[in-house]
């Protein structure tokens, strides 16, 4: 197996003495998709956010190594270098993640220029290029528009374009499709998959949607109550779930069975 790009070792997160994540350990291989599933409050998002030092009032212990570099305990300036450039992130509900009073161009170029020394014109053409890779038909128009003028699916594409424009080694996707309708959801997942293969970045996919996991993930970790209860390949997960919680999670799936109403 190749050298892991992201190694999480005994990660613990606590808010004022109350432990939220108790000792999570997993590895992410380059070019692979690792799904993290679990119910709400199981510590999925806390795990991801703590890696980037985004939980301000939390105490984080353990180790998170990105290609050999320890992330826990970095200062603000060092963290800023990691955020965006080394680890990109996309979120659910893209509409709220854009500032309604700034154009897409302003928000895109500001990210680019925070990490690269670019002139505004260069940043603009770079943004245009990246927007065209995420399947937006009129990138010039999108650049000039405000977030509320775009649909949720389009905004999610823009968010993906911004996240991948800095060529991060790891992309954290925190429920990227939860707020979208099923068709857009599928398009976005395909897009992430396609771009992931092109850029060979590793993806950490946080979701509670087993369908998304089945389609996207290579490996899966199951979290429950702040603990990692099962770590397996995606086929194993569906064929032979080991932990009782995983089995109950699988059983809670909604499956369409016609003519069989309880």
């Amino acid at each position: 197996m190749a050298e892991a790009v992201l190694t999480v070792d005994q990660l613990r997160v606590a808010f004022s003495g109350r432990s939220i994540v108790h000792g999570v350990t997993f590895e992410l291989q380059p070019g692979r998709v690792l799904g993290i599933i679990g119910e709400s409050g199981s510590g999925k998002s806390a795990t991801c956010l703590s890696m980037l030092g985004l939980l301000q009032r939390a105490t984080v212990e353990g180790s998170v190594q990105l290609a050999g570099q320890e992330l826990i305990g970095l200062n603000a300036a060092q963290l800023r270098q990691i955020r965006g450039r080394k680890i990109g992130m996309i979120f659910q509900n893209p509409a709220s993640f854009f500032n309604p009073i700034a154009t897409i161009e302003q928000q895109f170029t500001e990210t680019l220029r925070s990490h690269q020394s670019l002139t505004q014109t260069d940043a603009q053409s770079s943004a245009l290029h990246h927007l065209s890779t995420v399947g937006l038909s009129e990138p010039e128009r999108v650049l000039r528009q405000y977030p509320f003028q775009l649909s949720g699916g389009m905004l999610q594409r823009v968010m993906i374009a911004i996240a991948l424009s800095l060529k991060p080694q790891v992309l954290i996707a925190d429920e990227p499709t939860t707020a979208l309708d099923v068709i857009t959801q599928m398009q976005i997942l395909r897009l992430i998959q396609q771009l992931q293969q092109q850029t060979n970045c590793a993806v950490l996919l946080v979701t509670h949607d087993l369908g998304v996991i089945a389609q996207m993930a290579d490996d899966v970790v199951v979290m429950w109550n702040g603990e990692l209860v099962e770590q397996t390949s995606v086929n194993q997960l569906f064929d032979q779930p080991q932990h009782a919680y995983t089995r109950s999670l699988l059983a809670a799936r909604l499956t369409p069975r016609l003519g069989e109403k309880r």
């Binding site: 985004l54 301000q56 800023r80 979120f91 993640f97 925070s114 990490h115 800095l166």
Partner: protein
Amino acid sequence: MIIQRLLNHKLAWLGLSLIAIVLLISLFAPLIAPHDPLAVDLMKKLQPSSTTFPLGTDHLGRCILSRLMYGGQVSLSIALIVVMFTTLISLCVGLVAGYFGGRLDHGLMRLCDVFLAFPSLILSLAIVGTLGSSIGNLIFALVATHWAGYARIVRSRVLSVKESHFVQAAIVSGTRSLPIMLRHILPYTLIELTVLATLDISHIVLHIAGLSFLGLGIQPPTPEWGAMINDGREYFRRQPELMLYPGLMLFLTTLAFNLVGDVLRDVLDPRMEKQMRVKTLKTKLENG
């Protein structure tokens, strides 16, 4: 949009037109004032209103109407300068404190507490008293007594905007702090600041008048409403108008800015907008 909604209020009209009148009179005082406000003529002192002196003369025989017209110039321009500086300083302090948090925030807020702990008139008296009374010191004293309250309001606003998803997203993508503060946070603090500044102009005008009344603000012979009230004090029994007219001007100016500030607050409050929309929808439904 905002201006249109502002103009829908009758009170805003009243306030705005009063402000406009006061501003225009002050601005064009040199053109419309009947006399030189500084021309002393002891032979004509304490005259009642006449055709040459529409509002009479003061104890040095100066034309009161002309002095009233010129009086606004100093007060209003100082008030505007003070508001500008307080806004600037409080924006810097509030943004930095709210955004970076931690010890920096703690330190800056304790500094604010120190300034807020003194009654503002006493603090400005102390500052002007020790530094000497000049216009520069007056501005300094007023800014020193006003910035802390503004800074706290900016900071509290920054704290809530900082939690919004788009600021978090900008932080996650490693955007530098300065663009985050300027583009994603600053615009959202401006509404509160605008309302506060408008309401506060009247406060500052009164503050300047108060200091001048005590002889620490604008120095004679420069015409100023507060100082004019002080001048008229000795002749209160014989000629109460000497105090009445400048007091009236202060009253109208203060009222005007308060009215506009109040309406502005209502208009800029997004909750009000929703109520308005519901109201118009209701009337539309009722009318079919």
